[in-house]
């Protein structure tokens, strides 16, 4: 037999207690891991969504609302701006690319996003590329003859079950403007996976108010300047204009992150308490187990076990529970993070991919094992100091 085999046998001998203890470690670790993964995923999701365009021009109001609504399709839609703003930006020599965006209703929770082919253009500075799993982009139809062709984000197609050629509409009043699926995008792991895209002409054709307007409405224009040095002047110009605001997505992101960091600090404190509770639970479990088997420890000493071996056995038991709990907890943490990401995406619209595996998980596991071993230190010392003759005496 080896010392490790002895430790495992003791754990096996109190299988229910050992399992519950390992499970509590796993729960604690899963909570910590999933929280950090989700926080990182949320941050990455925000960064992913906001870094393609340097400027967003929309109506006067809350910059945060504009960015959240236009980029992440969260929050209520801000007031509209006129199409002439887009034309102005498109003609501006400082602008590399201007993309008009109009956000409307939703179909089964998936937001309508009307835009142009430029939104999907693959350019070197874009973090993600758009490719089609099926079909093609909607036509660049004329305002007078909207085609009502729709392109679905990957998650939309998967969840609703619409296929190419299918027609759909939301609400009876839209029955005469059904949209036809002409293309389905591959996953981009961002907010676009949850959007239904169609042309601006189709958007205006479906909207009773817009139909009447001579100058058509937009929600915002996404802007990429030719040179970053042109950004301040563009920002200033459209900010001082009476009907528009220009928002730097990076500054909004900073505000969001500042808010998140407050929540993060509170969460860290709570998780610290959770970790302490788990540590104490493991300590109490090992302590009671050691008290219960003083006689057995004395017997092992009497048949030749050195004190150091006794100490090692108890430490190994504690470390093994921590190892099993830690490994299961890390796997569970990823599972929880995945579920959490699905919920956040479904309710908040922020898409993220928290399932990023890094060697850091091994560091976390090592840390859990070290802490778990420490939790067994006092019980191990208790076992180490067990008096042999006193604990071998017959019980009656």
């Amino acid at each position: 037999m080896t010392i490790f085999a002895v430790a495992l046998t003791y754990l096996r001998g109190r299988l229910v207690a050992s399992s519950f203890t390992a499970f509590s470690v796993a729960l604690g670790v899963a909570l910590v891991i999933s929280t950090f993964l989700l926080i990182r995923g949320i941050k990455d999701g925000f960064i992913e969504g906001t870094t393609d365009y340097n400027l967003i021009v929309g109506a006067k109001g809350s910059p945060t609302q504009l960015v959240l609504n236009v980029v992440f399709r969260i929050d209520v839609a801000p007031p509209n701006i006129l199409h002439t703003i887009y034309e102005q930006l498109q003609a501006d020599t400082r602008v590399d690319l201007a993309v008009p965006v109009a956000l409307g209703d939703a179909y089964q929770g998936f937001r309508y996003v009307s835009t142009t082919a430029d939104y999907f253009k693959n350019v070197p500075w874009r973090r993600k590329t758009f490719t089609f799993a099926e079909g093609r982009l909607f036509r660049n139809d004329a305002v007078e003859h909207p085609a009502y062709e729709a392109v679905l984000g990957a998650q939309v197609a998967r969840q609703i079950g619409l296929n190419r050629g299918d027609q759909f509409y939301q609400g009876e009043e839209m029955a005469e403007y059904p949209l036809t699926v002409v293309g389905i995008l591959r996953p981009t792991h961002g907010p676009d996976d949850r959007a239904i895209f169609f042309s601006l002409a189709s958007f205006w054709g479906m909207n009773e108010v817009a139909r009447q307007m001579t100058v058509k409405p937009l929600t915002a224009v996404l802007v990429r300047p030719k040179r970053l040095s042109d950004l301040p002047s563009l920002h200033r110009e459209f900010n001082v204009a009476p009907e528009t605001q220009a928002v730097l997505p990076s500054s909004v992101l900073l505000n969001i992150f500042n808010l998140l960091s407050l929540a993060e600090e509170v969460l860290k404190m709570i998780l610290g308490i959770v970790a302490l509770v788990v540590f104490l639970y493991l300590f109490v479990a090992m302590y009671s187990a050691t008290l219960e088997r003083k006689r057995e420890v004395a017997t092992m000493r009497a048949i030749g076990a050195r004190r150091g071996i006794i100490l090692l056995i108890v430490l190994l038991e504690s470390a093994t529970i921590a190892l099993i709990g830690g490994a299961v907890g890390i796997a569970g943490g990823y599972g929880l993070a995945y579920l959490g990401a699905q919920i956040v995406a479904a309710r908040g619209g922020l898409a993220m991919n928290p399932l990023v595996f890094t060697p850091l998980q091994f560091v976390v596991l090592a840390g859990v094992v070290v802490l778990g071993t420490l939790a067994g230190l006092i019980p191990a010392i208790l076992a180490y100091r067990t008096e042999v003759a006193e604990n071998l005496a017959p019980l009656s």
């Binding site: 076990a305 050195r306 071996i309 071998l392």
Partner: protein, 232 residues
């Protein structure tokens, strides 16, 4: 320090325990005692006369207040504790009154555990020896049974096998059959004594059983060898 041909020698051994108020109670005072190599000695005495204390001292589990104890030519209390533990594992087999088997371990594992502390045999050979000893004690079909799955007689046999596992020259048995019914006690004791005598071990058995007394080379009365000081 080494000592003559006797397997076990006690010289001027006393053991006292503190009883509070700065006072000690002397429970053992044995000026001289020798057990010859290969001898079988039975130790008798009333309850509380110090029999278990004496066995614990001889096993090196308890430290005498004064005196020296030689086992197999070695002053066991001149050894540092870790070496004394190793010495005990190699030279002394101890059978406890209440078996003291480890509940989570099978019969085989209880025996293998004793061998773990004296790793002179390879793992496979350890297993073979453990199986052989248990087989000699009629437990061939019980190797994978845990103590709660064994009868009391079988448990005591496992305890005997554990004591013999490392082939120690000196065996201490503290009322080995006190927990057994008379018939089982007779059978188990007879098997135990046969095995030990065959292997020429030095035996010290605390017992009042007729089977144990029969065939003993010597019967020691605690009241005769132990002269503790009167409590003050």
């Amino acid at each position: 320090m080494t000592q003559g041909q006797a397997a076990v020698t006690l010289q001027g051994v006393t053991k006292s325990f503190p009883v509070g108020n700065g006072r000690d109670l002397e429970v053992l005072n044995i000026q001289g005692l020798e057990l010859s190599t290969g001898s079988y000695t039975v130790l008798r005495g009333p309850s509380g006369s110090g029999k278990t204390t004496l066995l614990n001292l001889m096993a090196g589990i308890s430290i005498p207040t004064t005196g020296t104890i030689w086992v197999d030519g070695t002053d066991i209390f001149s050894l540092p504790e870790p070496r004394r533990d190793r010495f005990r594992a190699e030279h002394i087999g101890y059978i406890f009154q209440t078996f003291n088997l480890l509940a989570a371990f099978t019969a085989l594992e209880n025996v293998l555990l004793a061998m773990m502390f004296v790793p002179t045999l390879a793992k496979r050979e350890q297993r073979q020896r453990a199986e052989e000893i248990l087989g000699n004690l009629g437990l061939k079909e019980r190797l994978s049974h845990r103590p709660h799955q064994l009868s009391r007689g079988e448990q005591q046999r496992v305890a005997i096998a554990r004591a013999l596992a490392n082939n120690p020259p000196f065996i201490l048995a503290d009322e080995p059959c006190a927990s057994l019914d008379p018939n089982t006690a007779r059978v188990v004791l007879a098997e135990f004594l046969t095995l030990c005598r065959e292997e020429k071990k030095t035996l010290l058995v605390v017992s009042h059983d007729e089977t144990a007394l029969r065939g003993a080379d010597r019967i020691l009365e605690m009241t005769e060898i132990n002269r503790p000081a009167e409590p003050s």
